[in-house]
Amino acid sequence: MPYAKTSKKFTQGEFADLRRTVAIKAETRRRLAHDPLYASDLPQEVSMQLTYKCNLRCLHCFQWNEQGFFHSYDSQRKRAELDIRVVHDVLRLTAGQRAKLFLWGGEPLMHSNFGEIASLIERYPRVVNMCTNGLLMERNAEHLLRIGPTLNLLVSLDGFEAEHEALRGRGSFARAMRNIQAFLDLQRRGEYRGELSVACMVSEAMVGRMYEFTDWAEETGFNSVYWLLPWFISPETAASMDQLYEDEFAWLNPPEPGEKPTWHSYTYALPADAIGDLRDSMSRIAERVWKLRLRYQPQIESDEIDDFIRGTSRPAQRRHRCLAVSNRMEIHADGRVSSCKFFPEFVIGNLHETPADELWLSERFRRVRAILRKNGLMPVCSKCILLYLSGD
Protein backbone atom coordinates (compact mmCIF):
# COMPACT_ATOMS: atom_id res chain seq x y z
CA MET A 1 0.00 0.00 0.00
CA PRO A 2 1.20 3.56 -0.50
CA TYR A 3 2.48 4.86 2.81
CA ALA A 4 1.32 7.96 4.64
CA LYS A 5 3.79 10.83 4.57
CA THR A 6 4.51 13.28 7.34
CA SER A 7 6.27 16.60 7.60
CA LYS A 8 6.88 15.95 11.28
CA LYS A 9 10.55 15.78 12.26
CA PHE A 10 11.93 13.28 14.72
CA THR A 11 12.39 14.80 18.13
CA GLN A 12 15.54 14.00 20.05
CA GLY A 13 13.57 11.59 22.21
CA GLU A 14 11.93 9.87 19.26
CA PHE A 15 15.27 9.48 17.54
CA ALA A 16 16.90 8.03 20.66
CA ASP A 17 14.02 5.58 21.01
CA LEU A 18 14.26 4.56 17.38
CA ARG A 19 18.02 4.06 17.68
CA ARG A 20 17.54 1.87 20.74
CA THR A 21 14.84 -0.18 18.99
CA VAL A 22 17.12 -0.76 16.01
CA ALA A 23 20.08 -1.66 18.22
CA ILE A 24 18.03 -4.25 20.12
CA LYS A 25 16.60 -5.72 16.96
CA ALA A 26 19.95 -5.87 15.18
CA GLU A 27 21.65 -7.52 18.15
CA THR A 28 18.86 -10.11 18.45
CA ARG A 29 19.08 -10.97 14.76
CA ARG A 30 22.86 -11.31 14.84
CA ARG A 31 22.81 -13.54 17.90
CA LEU A 32 19.99 -15.71 16.53
CA ALA A 33 22.07 -16.37 13.43
CA HIS A 34 24.57 -18.20 15.64
CA ASP A 35 22.25 -19.54 18.33
CA PRO A 36 18.58 -20.19 17.47
CA LEU A 37 17.73 -20.38 21.18
CA TYR A 38 19.32 -17.02 21.96
CA ALA A 39 17.78 -14.78 24.61
CA SER A 40 19.34 -11.57 25.88
CA ASP A 41 20.87 -11.85 29.37
CA LEU A 42 18.01 -9.74 30.71
CA PRO A 43 14.85 -8.62 28.93
CA GLN A 44 15.54 -5.51 26.86
CA GLU A 45 11.87 -4.62 26.80
CA VAL A 46 9.31 -5.26 29.50
CA SER A 47 5.55 -5.28 29.19
CA MET A 48 3.50 -4.97 32.36
CA GLN A 49 -0.20 -5.58 32.37
CA LEU A 50 -0.93 -3.51 35.46
CA THR A 51 -4.41 -4.86 36.08
CA TYR A 52 -7.16 -6.91 34.48
CA LYS A 53 -9.73 -4.39 35.74
CA CYS A 54 -11.33 -2.02 33.27
CA ASN A 55 -13.87 0.75 33.62
CA LEU A 56 -15.33 0.10 30.16
CA ARG A 57 -16.90 -2.93 28.47
CA CYS A 58 -16.09 -2.36 24.80
CA LEU A 59 -17.82 -4.50 22.20
CA HIS A 60 -14.58 -5.21 20.33
CA CYS A 61 -12.50 -6.12 23.37
CA PHE A 62 -11.08 -9.66 23.41
CA GLN A 63 -10.72 -9.41 27.19
CA TRP A 64 -14.03 -8.03 28.41
CA ASN A 65 -16.63 -8.27 25.62
CA GLU A 66 -19.25 -11.01 25.86
CA GLN A 67 -16.86 -13.65 24.52
CA GLY A 68 -13.89 -12.13 26.34
CA PHE A 69 -11.73 -14.61 28.22
CA PHE A 70 -11.49 -12.49 31.40
CA HIS A 71 -15.06 -13.57 32.18
CA SER A 72 -13.73 -17.07 32.81
CA TYR A 73 -11.42 -15.80 35.57
CA ASP A 74 -12.59 -16.19 39.16
CA SER A 75 -13.64 -13.02 40.97
CA GLN A 76 -10.29 -12.61 42.72
CA ARG A 77 -8.30 -12.83 39.51
CA LYS A 78 -10.64 -10.45 37.73
CA ARG A 79 -9.61 -7.80 40.27
CA ALA A 80 -5.90 -8.65 40.11
CA GLU A 81 -3.32 -5.86 40.10
CA LEU A 82 0.36 -6.26 39.48
CA ASP A 83 2.12 -6.40 42.85
CA ILE A 84 4.25 -3.33 43.56
CA ARG A 85 7.08 -5.59 44.73
CA VAL A 86 7.09 -7.30 41.32
CA VAL A 87 7.11 -3.92 39.56
CA HIS A 88 9.99 -2.78 41.75
CA ASP A 89 12.05 -5.97 41.26
CA VAL A 90 11.69 -5.92 37.48
CA LEU A 91 12.41 -2.20 37.12
CA ARG A 92 15.49 -2.52 39.33
CA LEU A 93 16.70 -5.60 37.45
CA THR A 94 16.38 -3.93 34.05
CA ALA A 95 17.51 -0.45 35.13
CA GLY A 96 21.05 -0.92 33.79
CA GLN A 97 19.97 -1.15 30.17
CA ARG A 98 16.89 1.04 30.70
CA ALA A 99 14.64 -1.63 29.25
CA LYS A 100 11.74 0.03 27.51
CA LEU A 101 8.49 -0.33 29.43
CA PHE A 102 5.02 -0.98 28.05
CA LEU A 103 2.05 -0.50 30.37
CA TRP A 104 -1.37 -1.85 29.57
CA GLY A 105 -4.34 -3.61 31.13
CA GLY A 106 -7.41 -3.88 31.40
CA GLU A 107 -7.11 -0.18 31.96
CA PRO A 108 -3.65 0.46 33.45
CA LEU A 109 -4.77 3.57 35.34
CA MET A 110 -7.26 1.39 37.26
CA HIS A 111 -4.29 0.10 39.28
CA SER A 112 -5.07 1.37 42.77
CA ASN A 113 -1.44 2.24 43.41
CA PHE A 114 -0.45 3.80 40.12
CA GLY A 115 1.21 6.67 42.00
CA GLU A 116 3.76 4.33 43.49
CA ILE A 117 4.40 2.71 40.11
CA ALA A 118 5.06 6.18 38.65
CA SER A 119 7.49 6.89 41.50
CA LEU A 120 9.35 3.67 40.75
CA ILE A 121 9.60 4.57 37.08
CA GLU A 122 10.92 7.99 38.10
CA ARG A 123 13.54 6.21 40.19
CA TYR A 124 14.44 3.77 37.38
CA PRO A 125 13.88 5.99 34.31
CA ARG A 126 13.29 4.71 30.81
CA VAL A 127 10.98 5.12 27.81
CA VAL A 128 7.43 4.24 28.81
CA ASN A 129 4.57 3.57 26.39
CA MET A 130 1.13 3.36 27.95
CA CYS A 131 -2.13 2.35 26.27
CA THR A 132 -5.15 3.81 28.02
CA ASN A 133 -8.79 4.58 27.41
CA GLY A 134 -7.98 8.05 28.74
CA LEU A 135 -10.73 8.28 31.32
CA LEU A 136 -8.46 8.51 34.34
CA MET A 137 -5.58 10.55 32.94
CA GLU A 138 -6.52 13.83 34.56
CA ARG A 139 -7.08 12.19 37.93
CA ASN A 140 -3.59 10.65 37.64
CA ALA A 141 -1.95 13.72 36.11
CA GLU A 142 0.37 14.27 39.05
CA HIS A 143 1.69 10.70 38.72
CA LEU A 144 1.90 10.72 34.94
CA LEU A 145 3.84 14.00 34.93
CA ARG A 146 6.31 12.49 37.37
CA ILE A 147 7.36 9.93 34.74
CA GLY A 148 8.71 12.80 32.64
CA PRO A 149 9.40 13.39 28.95
CA THR A 150 9.92 9.73 28.10
CA LEU A 151 6.24 8.93 28.60
CA ASN A 152 4.20 8.24 25.47
CA LEU A 153 0.47 8.09 26.08
CA LEU A 154 -1.63 6.29 23.52
CA VAL A 155 -5.33 6.99 24.04
CA SER A 156 -8.01 4.84 22.42
CA LEU A 157 -10.66 6.78 20.53
CA ASP A 158 -12.55 4.55 18.16
CA GLY A 159 -13.87 7.32 15.97
CA PHE A 160 -15.93 10.42 16.49
CA GLU A 161 -18.49 10.48 19.27
CA ALA A 162 -21.14 8.23 17.68
CA GLU A 163 -18.72 5.56 16.44
CA HIS A 164 -16.69 5.61 19.62
CA GLU A 165 -19.70 5.31 21.89
CA ALA A 166 -21.29 2.55 19.78
CA LEU A 167 -18.29 0.44 20.83
CA ARG A 168 -17.34 1.93 24.19
CA GLY A 169 -20.59 3.08 25.75
CA ARG A 170 -22.55 6.26 26.21
CA GLY A 171 -20.71 9.29 27.53
CA SER A 172 -17.28 7.72 27.04
CA PHE A 173 -16.22 10.05 24.20
CA ALA A 174 -16.81 13.31 26.05
CA ARG A 175 -15.11 11.94 29.16
CA ALA A 176 -12.07 10.80 27.18
CA MET A 177 -11.90 14.15 25.38
CA ARG A 178 -11.97 16.09 28.66
CA ASN A 179 -8.90 14.14 29.76
CA ILE A 180 -7.21 14.54 26.39
CA GLN A 181 -7.80 18.29 26.36
CA ALA A 182 -6.41 18.54 29.88
CA PHE A 183 -3.21 16.82 28.76
CA LEU A 184 -2.95 18.86 25.58
CA ASP A 185 -3.20 21.96 27.80
CA LEU A 186 -0.50 20.59 30.07
CA GLN A 187 1.60 19.92 26.98
CA ARG A 188 1.13 23.48 25.67
CA ARG A 189 2.18 24.87 29.04
CA GLY A 190 5.27 22.67 28.98
CA GLU A 191 4.20 20.70 32.04
CA TYR A 192 3.60 17.47 30.15
CA ARG A 193 6.64 16.88 27.99
CA GLY A 194 5.79 13.41 26.73
CA GLU A 195 3.78 12.50 23.66
CA LEU A 196 0.03 12.16 23.30
CA SER A 197 -1.21 9.98 20.47
CA VAL A 198 -4.49 8.43 19.52
CA ALA A 199 -5.30 4.85 18.55
CA CYS A 200 -8.42 4.19 16.51
CA MET A 201 -9.65 0.80 15.47
CA VAL A 202 -10.81 0.49 11.88
CA SER A 203 -14.43 -0.50 12.45
CA GLU A 204 -17.13 -0.83 9.83
CA ALA A 205 -18.43 2.58 10.87
CA MET A 206 -15.00 4.24 10.61
CA VAL A 207 -13.51 2.59 7.56
CA GLY A 208 -14.96 5.25 5.26
CA ARG A 209 -14.09 8.11 7.64
CA MET A 210 -10.41 7.41 8.22
CA TYR A 211 -9.23 10.47 6.32
CA GLU A 212 -11.69 12.71 8.13
CA PHE A 213 -10.67 11.36 11.53
CA THR A 214 -6.97 11.72 10.77
CA ASP A 215 -7.61 15.31 9.74
CA TRP A 216 -9.46 15.92 13.01
CA ALA A 217 -6.65 14.27 15.02
CA GLU A 218 -4.10 16.53 13.34
CA GLU A 219 -6.20 19.57 14.10
CA THR A 220 -6.67 18.44 17.71
CA GLY A 221 -2.93 18.28 18.26
CA PHE A 222 -2.09 14.60 18.62
CA ASN A 223 1.46 13.51 17.93
CA SER A 224 0.42 10.39 15.99
CA VAL A 225 -2.60 8.46 14.85
CA TYR A 226 -2.45 4.69 15.02
CA TRP A 227 -4.98 2.94 12.82
CA LEU A 228 -5.53 -0.49 14.30
CA LEU A 229 -6.87 -3.19 12.07
CA PRO A 230 -9.09 -5.57 14.05
CA TRP A 231 -7.15 -8.53 15.46
CA PHE A 232 -9.66 -11.06 14.14
CA ILE A 233 -8.79 -14.75 14.36
CA SER A 234 -11.13 -16.84 12.24
CA PRO A 235 -12.60 -20.06 13.69
CA GLU A 236 -10.46 -22.03 11.20
CA THR A 237 -7.27 -20.30 12.30
CA ALA A 238 -8.21 -20.79 15.96
CA ALA A 239 -8.84 -24.49 15.30
CA SER A 240 -5.44 -24.93 13.66
CA MET A 241 -3.92 -23.19 16.69
CA ASP A 242 -5.77 -25.64 18.98
CA GLN A 243 -4.11 -28.49 17.11
CA LEU A 244 -0.65 -26.94 17.20
CA TYR A 245 -0.95 -26.25 20.91
CA GLU A 246 -2.05 -29.80 21.59
CA ASP A 247 0.82 -31.19 19.53
CA GLU A 248 3.61 -28.96 20.84
CA PHE A 249 2.63 -27.09 23.99
CA ALA A 250 0.30 -29.37 25.96
CA TRP A 251 3.05 -29.54 28.63
CA LEU A 252 2.93 -25.75 29.16
CA ASN A 253 -0.29 -24.17 30.45
CA PRO A 254 -3.31 -25.70 28.74
CA PRO A 255 -6.80 -24.35 29.47
CA GLU A 256 -8.89 -26.16 32.06
CA PRO A 257 -11.16 -28.90 30.67
CA GLY A 258 -14.20 -27.29 29.08
CA GLU A 259 -12.49 -23.90 28.73
CA LYS A 260 -11.83 -22.52 25.27
CA PRO A 261 -8.31 -21.27 24.53
CA THR A 262 -8.12 -17.49 24.52
CA TRP A 263 -7.47 -17.19 20.79
CA HIS A 264 -11.14 -18.08 20.30
CA SER A 265 -11.97 -14.69 21.89
CA TYR A 266 -10.61 -12.67 18.95
CA THR A 267 -14.02 -12.45 17.33
CA TYR A 268 -14.39 -8.80 16.35
CA ALA A 269 -13.94 -8.48 12.58
CA LEU A 270 -14.20 -5.93 9.84
CA PRO A 271 -16.70 -7.32 7.30
CA ALA A 272 -15.00 -8.57 4.16
CA ASP A 273 -17.15 -6.25 2.04
CA ALA A 274 -15.46 -3.28 3.75
CA ILE A 275 -12.05 -4.20 2.31
CA GLY A 276 -12.61 -1.98 -0.75
CA ASP A 277 -13.37 1.00 1.49
CA LEU A 278 -10.26 0.26 3.54
CA ARG A 279 -8.09 0.31 0.43
CA ASP A 280 -9.72 3.55 -0.71
CA SER A 281 -9.22 5.23 2.67
CA MET A 282 -5.56 4.18 2.89
CA SER A 283 -4.93 5.43 -0.65
CA ARG A 284 -6.60 8.77 0.08
CA ILE A 285 -4.63 9.22 3.28
CA ALA A 286 -1.41 8.51 1.36
CA GLU A 287 -2.05 11.40 -1.02
CA ARG A 288 -1.44 14.05 1.64
CA VAL A 289 1.61 15.08 3.66
CA TRP A 290 0.42 15.14 7.29
CA LYS A 291 1.65 17.23 10.18
CA LEU A 292 1.28 14.27 12.50
CA ARG A 293 2.68 10.76 12.27
CA LEU A 294 0.36 8.16 10.92
CA ARG A 295 0.84 4.48 11.49
CA TYR A 296 -1.09 1.38 10.67
CA GLN A 297 -0.91 -1.59 12.95
CA PRO A 298 0.06 -3.59 11.09
CA GLN A 299 1.52 -1.62 8.17
CA ILE A 300 -0.20 -3.95 5.77
CA GLU A 301 0.82 -4.51 2.16
CA SER A 302 -1.79 -4.44 -0.59
CA ASP A 303 -1.71 -8.20 -1.22
CA GLU A 304 -1.99 -8.94 2.51
CA ILE A 305 -5.21 -7.05 3.27
CA ASP A 306 -7.69 -9.79 2.40
CA ASP A 307 -5.93 -12.42 4.50
CA PHE A 308 -5.55 -10.11 7.47
CA ILE A 309 -9.17 -8.96 7.52
CA ARG A 310 -10.47 -12.51 7.03
CA GLY A 311 -8.44 -13.69 10.01
CA THR A 312 -6.19 -16.21 8.29
CA SER A 313 -2.83 -17.22 9.70
CA ARG A 314 -0.85 -15.34 7.06
CA PRO A 315 1.19 -12.57 8.68
CA ALA A 316 1.31 -9.01 7.35
CA GLN A 317 4.40 -6.85 6.74
CA ARG A 318 6.10 -9.93 5.20
CA ARG A 319 6.96 -11.01 8.74
CA HIS A 320 8.31 -14.51 9.28
CA ARG A 321 9.95 -14.57 12.71
CA CYS A 322 9.20 -13.35 16.23
CA LEU A 323 12.10 -11.60 17.95
CA ALA A 324 10.15 -10.60 21.06
CA VAL A 325 10.47 -14.06 22.56
CA SER A 326 14.23 -13.46 22.69
CA ASN A 327 14.29 -9.94 24.08
CA ARG A 328 11.00 -8.98 25.69
CA MET A 329 9.28 -10.10 28.88
CA GLU A 330 5.49 -10.13 29.16
CA ILE A 331 4.19 -9.84 32.71
CA HIS A 332 0.50 -10.40 33.46
CA ALA A 333 -1.42 -8.62 36.20
CA ASP A 334 -1.24 -11.67 38.48
CA GLY A 335 2.55 -11.86 38.20
CA ARG A 336 2.63 -14.62 35.62
CA VAL A 337 5.12 -14.33 32.78
CA SER A 338 4.33 -15.55 29.30
CA SER A 339 6.27 -15.83 26.09
CA CYS A 340 3.36 -14.36 24.11
CA LYS A 341 1.72 -11.08 25.02
CA PHE A 342 -1.93 -11.95 24.53
CA PHE A 343 -2.17 -15.64 25.23
CA PRO A 344 -2.00 -16.92 28.82
CA GLU A 345 -1.70 -20.46 27.46
CA PHE A 346 1.96 -19.50 27.05
CA VAL A 347 2.58 -18.75 30.71
CA ILE A 348 6.08 -19.85 31.68
CA GLY A 349 5.99 -19.16 35.41
CA ASN A 350 5.13 -16.63 38.09
CA LEU A 351 7.25 -13.80 39.47
CA HIS A 352 5.78 -14.44 42.92
CA GLU A 353 7.62 -17.76 42.86
CA THR A 354 10.66 -17.22 40.63
CA PRO A 355 12.89 -14.15 40.16
CA ALA A 356 12.54 -12.46 36.78
CA ASP A 357 16.10 -13.17 35.59
CA GLU A 358 15.80 -16.84 36.49
CA LEU A 359 12.43 -17.18 34.79
CA TRP A 360 13.69 -15.39 31.68
CA LEU A 361 16.45 -17.96 31.16
CA SER A 362 14.53 -20.93 32.57
CA GLU A 363 14.32 -24.32 30.91
CA ARG A 364 10.59 -23.86 30.26
CA PHE A 365 11.20 -20.57 28.43
CA ARG A 366 14.06 -22.15 26.53
CA ARG A 367 11.82 -25.02 25.47
CA VAL A 368 9.17 -22.61 24.14
CA ARG A 369 11.83 -20.71 22.20
CA ALA A 370 13.12 -23.98 20.78
CA ILE A 371 9.67 -25.00 19.50
CA LEU A 372 9.00 -21.55 18.03
CA ARG A 373 12.35 -21.54 16.28
CA LYS A 374 11.80 -25.06 14.96
CA ASN A 375 8.24 -24.50 13.71
CA GLY A 376 8.32 -20.81 12.78
CA LEU A 377 5.31 -18.61 13.35
CA MET A 378 2.15 -20.07 14.88
CA PRO A 379 -1.31 -19.50 13.31
CA VAL A 380 -2.15 -16.80 15.89
CA CYS A 381 1.13 -14.89 15.48
CA SER A 382 -0.41 -13.04 12.54
CA LYS A 383 -2.60 -11.24 15.09
CA CYS A 384 0.11 -10.25 17.56
CA ILE A 385 1.32 -6.67 17.68
CA LEU A 386 4.79 -7.79 18.76
CA LEU A 387 5.37 -9.50 15.45
CA TYR A 388 4.84 -6.15 13.78
CA LEU A 389 6.59 -3.91 16.28
CA SER A 390 9.78 -5.88 16.52
CA GLY A 391 9.54 -9.02 14.41
CA ASP A 392 11.50 -9.98 11.38
Binding site: Y3, A4, K5, T6, K9, F10, E14, F15, L18, R19, R20, T21, V22, A23, K25, A26, R29, R30, R293, R295, Q299
Partner: protein
Protein backbone atom coordinates in the same frame (compact mmCIF):
# COMPACT_ATOMS: atom_id res chain seq x y z
CA UNK B 1 31.43 -4.99 -6.75
CA UNK B 2 28.60 -2.57 -6.00
CA UNK B 3 29.42 0.98 -4.98
CA UNK B 4 28.00 2.47 -1.81
CA UNK B 5 25.53 4.45 -3.86
CA UNK B 6 24.31 1.28 -5.56
CA UNK B 7 23.94 -0.39 -2.18
CA UNK B 8 21.88 2.57 -0.97
CA UNK B 9 19.67 2.49 -4.04
CA UNK B 10 19.05 -1.23 -3.60
CA UNK B 11 18.28 -0.70 0.07
CA UNK B 12 15.80 2.11 -0.54
CA UNK B 13 14.18 0.14 -3.35
CA UNK B 14 13.66 -2.77 -0.97
CA UNK B 15 12.45 -0.77 2.03
CA UNK B 16 10.30 1.81 0.28
CA UNK B 17 9.21 -0.34 -2.66
CA UNK B 18 9.67 2.75 -4.85
CA UNK B 19 12.10 2.27 -7.78
CA UNK B 20 11.82 5.90 -8.86
CA UNK B 21 12.76 7.18 -5.42
CA UNK B 22 15.71 4.78 -5.30
CA UNK B 23 17.05 5.78 -8.70
CA UNK B 24 17.02 9.46 -7.76
CA UNK B 25 19.35 9.01 -4.82
CA UNK B 26 22.65 10.89 -4.83
CA UNK B 27 25.34 11.20 -2.21
CA UNK B 28 23.68 14.41 -1.00
CA UNK B 29 20.22 12.88 -0.52
CA UNK B 30 18.86 13.55 2.97
CA UNK B 31 17.33 10.36 4.38
CA UNK B 32 14.84 12.31 6.45
CA UNK B 33 13.82 15.20 4.23
CA UNK B 34 14.30 13.77 0.74
CA UNK B 35 13.24 10.18 1.30
CA UNK B 36 10.62 10.88 3.96
CA UNK B 37 11.42 7.73 5.90
CA UNK B 38 8.98 7.32 8.78
CA UNK B 39 9.92 5.38 11.88
CA UNK B 40 8.92 1.97 10.52
CA UNK B 41 10.77 2.55 7.26
CA UNK B 42 13.73 3.90 9.18
CA UNK B 43 13.92 0.77 11.34
CA UNK B 44 13.71 -1.47 8.27
CA UNK B 45 16.22 0.73 6.46
CA UNK B 46 18.79 0.62 9.25
CA UNK B 47 18.37 -3.09 9.89
CA UNK B 48 18.56 -3.72 6.13
CA UNK B 49 21.79 -1.71 5.91
CA UNK B 50 23.66 -4.40 7.82
CA UNK B 51 22.63 -6.99 5.26
CA UNK B 52 23.06 -4.75 2.24
CA UNK B 53 26.57 -3.63 3.18
CA UNK B 54 27.53 -6.93 4.85
CA UNK B 55 28.71 -5.23 8.04
CA UNK B 56 27.81 -5.18 11.71
CA UNK B 57 26.80 -1.70 12.79
CA UNK B 58 26.99 -0.16 16.25
CA UNK B 59 23.59 1.51 16.11
CA UNK B 60 23.93 2.92 19.62
CA UNK B 61 26.41 5.41 18.17
CA UNK B 62 24.13 6.51 15.34
CA UNK B 63 23.40 10.25 15.41
CA UNK B 64 20.83 12.24 13.49
CA UNK B 65 23.48 13.97 11.40
CA UNK B 66 24.51 10.59 9.98
CA UNK B 67 21.15 10.49 8.24
CA UNK B 68 21.28 13.93 6.67
CA UNK B 69 23.11 12.68 3.60
CA UNK B 70 23.89 9.40 1.92
CA UNK B 71 27.54 10.37 2.19
CA UNK B 72 27.45 10.66 5.99
CA UNK B 73 25.39 7.51 6.36
CA UNK B 74 27.85 5.47 4.31
CA UNK B 75 30.69 6.93 6.34
CA UNK B 76 28.91 5.86 9.49
CA UNK B 77 28.31 2.38 8.11
CA UNK B 78 32.01 2.04 7.37
CA UNK B 79 32.88 3.27 10.85
CA UNK B 80 33.96 6.70 9.68
CA UNK B 81 32.04 9.68 10.99
CA UNK B 82 32.15 13.14 9.53
CA UNK B 83 34.04 14.26 12.58
CA UNK B 84 36.90 12.05 11.41
CA UNK B 85 37.02 14.29 8.34
CA UNK B 86 37.87 11.55 5.88
CA UNK B 87 37.98 12.88 2.31
CA UNK B 88 34.91 11.90 0.30
CA UNK B 89 37.13 10.14 -2.22
CA UNK B 90 37.81 7.47 0.36
CA UNK B 91 34.19 6.47 0.49
CA UNK B 92 33.55 4.62 -2.78
CA UNK B 93 30.40 6.59 -3.27
CA UNK B 94 30.49 6.75 -7.05
Amino acid sequence: MATDLEHMQALVRRVMDDPELATGITEDTDLFDDLGLDSLHMINFLIGAEEEFGVEVDFESLREEHLHSVRSFCAFIHGVTQNDRMPPAALRLI
